[in-house]
């Protein structure tokens, strides 16, 4: 790891708000005076394919890519896509894993079982937190907000002050209160976690 750089990997599928969430994080980091890089991995995203974004923030960032075993934080919007990036997750890393699992055709047809993603991520790091993001945003505004809940969960581990997120959200204007509430629900979930999971080790 480059000293002083925090690596965040966000992974999901097309039409989940992966890029929008990464953008909020990166813009908040920029506002907080950090150097930042946000790199969307090219994919045929229009067709339900995997989509992932590497975000790196710190004093000086060079490569836009998170190196293997160096992701401090993994934000899994979808379980299989989180698993696809497990090799990037650092041994001390923190993974916020949405409960949503979008099955492939082989799984839908019963030809292949869905893997136990939580267990497989736990083999990399004990700091894996399952987030019922879809249910947490129910009554707020639904699926477009799941990114804010997930970002809320990991935000206490990132070197970006909360007011920076608030400022970026405020600049976006629409549905400000709902967005704030979604972010807050994520933070509350983090606050309720045991300290062995939340301890800011090596980040």
């Amino acid at each position: 790891m480059t000293t002083g750089v925090t690596n965040v990997l966000l992974a999901g599928v097309a039409r989940q708000p992966v890029l929008a969430t990464a953008r909020l994080l990166a813009e908040a980091a920029l506002l907080a005076g950090l150097d930042v890089s946000l790199s969307e991995c090219p994919s045929p995203a229009a067709w339900g394919g995997p989509t992932s974004v590497h975000v790196r923030l710190g004093d000086e960032v060079h490569s836009p890519l998170v190196r293997e075993r160096e992701a401090d934080v993994l934000v899994g919007f979808e379980q299989l896509e989180a698993l696809r990036h497990a090799h990037l997750l650092a041994p001390h890393g923190f993974a916020a894993l949405n409960e949503r699992l979008l099955r492939t055709w082989r799984m839908r047809a019963g030809l292949e079982p869905a893997p136990d993603v939580t267990a497989r991520l736990m083999a990399v790091t004990p700091r894996v937190v399952s987030v019922p993001a879809e249910s947490l945003v129910q009554g707020l505004g639904g699926a477009p907000l799941i990114g804010l809940v997930l970002l809320g969960v990991v935000s206490p581990l990132l070197p970006v002050p909360e007011h920076a997120y608030q400022a970026v959200l405020a600049a976006g204007a629409a549905d400000l209160e709902v967005r704030r509430a979604a972010l807050r629900r994520g933070r509350e979930l983090f606050a309720a976690l045991p300290s062995c999971v939340t301890a800011p080790r090596a980040i």
Partner: protein, 578 residues
């Protein structure tokens, strides 16, 4: 003030700040980097146009340049425009003319992994390679200035990584451009037979004069750190090198062709070991070797796919934390969206048992299981010509047993001309065009495709008999609703049985453009016998619930295709009236 901009957004911003008057690009289905640039240019107040193919995009900016305006083209496949671009070097740019080429190492977006840098020698044009978004903005400005100074188009080559990576970019003031106007120079602007050779000499001279200045260009720079290892690199690789080998000295080439020979010699003399780090083809390495400079490159790293800091560190002795084996995740191949009319069309094609010459775009989604309905598909708009070629050599052996299948985007890209060619030769065949109402994606008007097809092939409408068609030398063009499975299948069978050329326009709205949501379908679990017919449609909403098939209401687009394939009558729309 700094704003977070991706490479494409930074290029669009540069266009706004550098008085560019037109940005034209071919975005197609997969070139979403180019689409993002055009979108950003519009937001910055620059006139931006989506062209139906790469060639038209380039021709538009050539016209603007000859009219004395600054103009930028953006394409994902530079090889598609080699001929007009080369000719433009002879004619000479008037207003600054830059062509942004987006290469795709790893082939995540396009179909081929072309390294467009290999075209620099063939095209005899300057090649500029930004490494990140701030450089995209800075280098596009430099490219336009170079273009005007040497009256030559300039290629700004990036990769998808640079295109899609956001970095803080300093903003300047935007300024509106004012075209100088057309200047009459018929001797130079009309490439009449006999003039090309002379004009090429002039173009070569301008390039040679430019080459004499590459050594002092601020786009090329030497970063001296430890003399133990010197790395020659460009583009996205530069930042990977800085990450993986922080102590290495670096020669970073932003203007890589014409190659800055003297600068390279000086750098090579100051380091003990010289290594080239470049994605895909060993272009810089061959330049160094041609100068007699000893270096390493090819063989150290893979020649296919994208490079990253881990691969560079592995090859050159940096720190790598790669100990654990990769966790395998199940593959997620692209599939048609729920409600996509392509799914119905592909299913109908499977039922009529034909060879399908497919195309790129959404029609490509029939590539994977369970639909797997395509037999070939490799270039945009190619399907019509490909099927025609097979018919020319196989004749009766494929007649009535194959179709060309393409999206309207591919049809307007180049398939339409191939269709006119087939019709002109009096050949037969069946062409299926999937019309999805997303024509704005290729910058074409929402004209009726069937009328266009009729105009191209001299077709008669309606249901005239095959005899009549043969007699009049016209082809049959008919429209079907793709989501009406029985009608589509019947139309395909009928047209395949005709000896002459016919076109089936299969209409169906893209679910992303569906404005009025349709109620989802549901399975009656008592009636369902789990035969799996609906499952084999590969719809993201349908899964095997082990007691009965299950339709996830939130994922269902209500297209009703599964209702049509269910033999047990177990699926119905949840519409209150039904």
């Amino acid at each position: 003030m700094k704003r977070l901009l991706t490479g494409m957004e930074a290029l669009a911003r540069a266009a706004a700040e550098e008085r560019v008057q037109i940005v034209s690009g071919h975005a197609g289905h997969t070139g979403h980097a180019v689409a993002a640039m055009l979108e950003a240019a519009l937001q910055e107040g620059v006139c931006a146009r989506r062209a139906p193919n790469e060639k038209v995009a380039l021709e538009v900016v050539m016209g603007a340049s000859l009219a004395g305006a600054r103009a930028v083209a953006a394409v994902t496949n530079l090889a598609a425009v080699v001929d007009p671009l080369h000719a433009m070097a002879y004619v000479g740019a008037a207003g600054g003319l830059a062509v942004v080429a987006v290469d795709d190492p790893g082939v995540a977006l396009g179909a081929v992994e072309t390294d467009s840098r290999t075209l620099a020698r063939a095209l005899e044009l300057p090649w500029i390679e930004p490494s990140d978004a701030p450089e995209c903005k800075e280098y596009l400005a430099a490219a336009l200035a170079l273009s005007e100074r040497w009256e030559i188009p300039v290629v700004v080559r990036i990769t998808t990584r640079v295109a899609l990576t956001g970095r803080p970019v300093s903003l300047g003031a935007t300024a509106a451009g004012e075209a100088a106007g057309l200047r009459r120079d018929r001797e130079r602007r009309v490439l009449a037979p006999g003039r090309g050779g002379r004009l090429r000499i002039g173009a070569r001279e301008r390039l040679a004069q430019l080459a004499a200045h590459t050594g002092e260009s601020p786009l090329n720079r030497v970063e001296l750190r430890s003399p133990a290892l010197g790395v020659v690199t460009s583009g996205a690789s530069y930042h990977h090198v800085r990450e993986a080998l922080p102590d290495a000295s670096v020669l970073k080439l932003g203007l890589s062709f014409p190659f800055p020979a003297q600068l390279a010699r000086t750098f090579a003399a100051r380091v003990h070991r010289l290594v080239v780090v470049e994605e895909l083809e060993p272009v810089l390495e061959h330049e160094l070797r041609a100068l007699g400079i000893a270096c390493q490159g090819e063989g150290l790293m893979p020649r296919t796919g994208e490079l990253g800091p881990d691969l560079i560190a592995l090859a050159l002795g940096g720190t790598v934390r790669r100990e654990r084996r990769r966790v395998a995740a199940p593959e997620r191949p692209p599939e048609p969206c729920a409600g996509c009319p392509r799914r119905a069309l592909l299913h109908a094609l499977k039922r009529v048992h034909v060879n399908v010459a497919g195309d790129l775009g959404c029609a490509m989604m029939g590539a994977s299981a369970p639909l797997a309905a395509l037999d070939s598909a490799f270039a945009v708009g190619a399907s019509v010509g490909v099927a025609h070629g097979a018919e020319l050599v196989l004749g009766e052996r494929v007649r009535g047993r194959q179709v060309a299948l393409l999206d309207e985007g591919a049809f307007l890209h180049s398939g339409a001309l191939a269709l006119a060619h087939v019709a002109g030769g009096g050949a037969g065949g069946t062409v299926v065009v999937a019309e999805d109402g997303m024509r704005a994606r290729v910058g074409a008007p929402a004209a009726d495709l069937a009328s266009l097809a009729r105009a191209l092939v001299g077709a008669s409408g309606g249901q005239a008999s095959a005899q009549q068609h043969r007699a009049s030398g016209t082809a049959n063009v008919r429209e079907v609703d793709a989501l009406d499975l029985a009608a589509t299948e019947a139309a395909l069978r009928e047209e395949l049985a005709r000896p002459e050329l016919s076109v089936v326009v299969a209409r169906g709205r893209c679910p992303m453009a569906q404005t009025t949501p349709r109620p989802p379908c549901a399975v009656n679990s008592v009636r369902c016998n789990r035969c799996g017919a609906c499952l084999r449609l590969g719809c993201p909403a349908i899964s095997d619930g082990f007691d009965a098939m299950v339709i996830e209401a939130g994922a269902c687009a209500g297209c009703g295709l599964c209702v049509q394939v269910c033999r047990a009558g177990a699926i119905a729309s949840t519409e209150p009236s039904s």
